[in-house]
């Protein structure tokens, strides 16, 4: 790595930092690029699985991005998609095994969705679009940025869904018992996937209201 540095670009130069910050807002994987929606709907009924899912995606995406960036010059273009898939699948299985060993309860809740990280379009999209043509360090930052952009939205959705759907956050009771005695009822619809889609829609709306750059001309 070090021999390739021509102009000795600092590790956290503005250009590099932009790789992270841009994904949080202007090209957020979920709300702007509309990728990875499937898992965003599936694992966000409670906050805990959403956080674990975000961390899993972060690890998989950052690691695969670095591996592909390191291999990028040797990968034969004709089988590059297969190579990318092998790398992603290996990472995902490793993460799945680690979750099963150390956070078994959460891994049971996430069930098939950890395995389905393999098919999360954000990951393969970043490998193909970024890691194949960049050095490992920017690729690493790009992976972190995209996974954070994904994770932030996931946590937001899960926060709203758990709060209004179950009245709890991370299984701690937030809405006091007094409200329930008074006739307040948890919104059962929040637990169901359709409401997650509507929540994503509301987040996109709010984001576009405050970020004028995202609004199309017409």
């Amino acid at each position: 790595m070090s021999t390739e540095n021509k102009a000795k670009e600092p590790l956290f130069s503005t250009k590099n930092l932009k790789l992270i910050t841009k994904q949080l807002n202007l090209s957020n994987p979920i709300t702007v690029q509309v990728l990875g929606i499937c898992s965003a709907l599936a694992v966000t009924a409670k906050l805990m699985p959403a956080i674990v899912m975000s961390i899993s995606v972060l690890v998989v995406l950052a690691a695969s991005n670095v591996v592909i960036a390191l291999l990028r010059k040797g990968i034969p273009p004709r089988i590059r998609i297969i190579v990318q898939l092998v790398v992603i699948a290996t990472m995902v299985i490793l993460v799945d095994q680690v979750l099963k060993a150390f956070v078994y309860d959460v891994s049971k809740q996430l069930s098939v969705f950890v395995g389905l990280i393999i098919t999360n379009c954000i990951i393969m999209g970043r490998l193909e679009a970024f890691a194949m043509s960049n050095k490992p360090w920017p690729a690493f930052l790009d992976g972190i940025g995209n996974a954070l952009g994904y994770g932030v939205i996931l946590v937001m959705i899960a926060f709203l869904r758990e709060l209004f759907g179950s009245g709890t956050l991370l299984d701690f009771r937030i809405i006091p018992q007094g409200f329930y005695d008074f006739g307040y009822v948890n919104n059962g619809l929040m637990i169901l996937p359709p409401m997650a889609l509507i929540t994503v829609g509301v987040i996109i709306w709010v984001q576009r209201y405050y970020t004028r750059e995202l609004i199309e001309e017409n």
Partner: protein
């Protein structure tokens, strides 16, 4: 351009490296995963006996505390007790139901586990269950009172039943139906507990104590639960009949 030889070599080396990594990880993490699976099994056994306040962190302690005896039952219903020492190391806990039921289907000798729980002075017998659902195996535990007739509680779990349909067998709404049901008819004949499509109300009045409602949209899983309880209890029947208070 890359030659075909290069591509083949590249793919082969990549796959071998990936396989080596994964096998290494699987080997290193196996003990931790096995411990989690054992804890889950213990939790299921305690949950079927309605032992309260069991969490992942204290499951092993609670298991050793509440399970006072393990029995290994042979096909004639003779029980080999195990009382001293840690229950988590007991012979019954090590038994794999899947293997034993397979041995039975092949006509070989088999041994079945029974756990005896003492909860507030009440003796509860817990029999593990195993059967097939729609997509894969289902399993669970059934806790019986010391009359070997009344059900105290059940637990179910599954490998991959349809979420929202078959997977509903793990919800308390389904499991709570079993509490208080009886596995023997008043005249002494073995009835099991039937999972009835369309609801237990369809059964004749005197049979309703042997039936629970099936899950709408989860018919094959419900039938699987029905068969699992019937088949496994039938295997245990010699043991149950020996110990049953008439």
């Amino acid at each position: 351009m890359y030659s075909n030889g290069y591509i083949f070599r590249y793919a082969a080396i990549l796959v071998i490296v990936a396989a080596a990594l994964l096998s290494l990880a699987a080997m290193l993490l196996k003990p931790y995963q096995d411990k989690n699976i054992a804890i889950e099994k213990m939790g299921g056994i305690l949950a079927s006996a309605k032992v309260e306040g069991v969490e992942t962190a204290n499951t092993i302690k609670a298991f050793n505390q509440f399970v006072v005896e393990e029995l290994v039952v042979d096909k004639d219903g003779n029980a080999e007790p195990y009382k001293d020492g840690k229950m988590e190391d007991g012979p019954a806990f090590k038994i794999d139901m899947k293997k034993e039921l397979y041995k039975m289907s092949k006509g070989n000798a088999y041994h079945l586990p029974v756990y005896v729980v003492n909860k507030d002075g009440e003796t509860i017998y817990i029999l593990p269950l195993r059967g097939t659902g729609l997509w894969g195996p289902i399993w669970g535990n059934i806790a019986l009172k010391d009359d070997f007739n009344t059900i105290i509680g059940v637990t179910f779990d599954h490998k991959g039943e349809t979420p929202g349909l078959g997977a509903e067998i793990t919800t308390s709404a389904f499991k709570d139906q079993f509490v208080g049901k009886k596995i023997f008819h008043d005249d002494g004949s073995f009835m099991s507990v039937m999972v009835v499509k369309g609801g237990a109300k369809k059964l004749p009045e005197d049979m309703q104590i042997h039936g629970v409602d099936a899950i709408s949209g989860g018919t094959i899983t419900s039938n699987g639960v029905n068969d699992m309880i019937h088949d496994v209890l039938t295997v245990y029947l010699p043991f149950i009949q020996k110990n049953r208070k008439q």
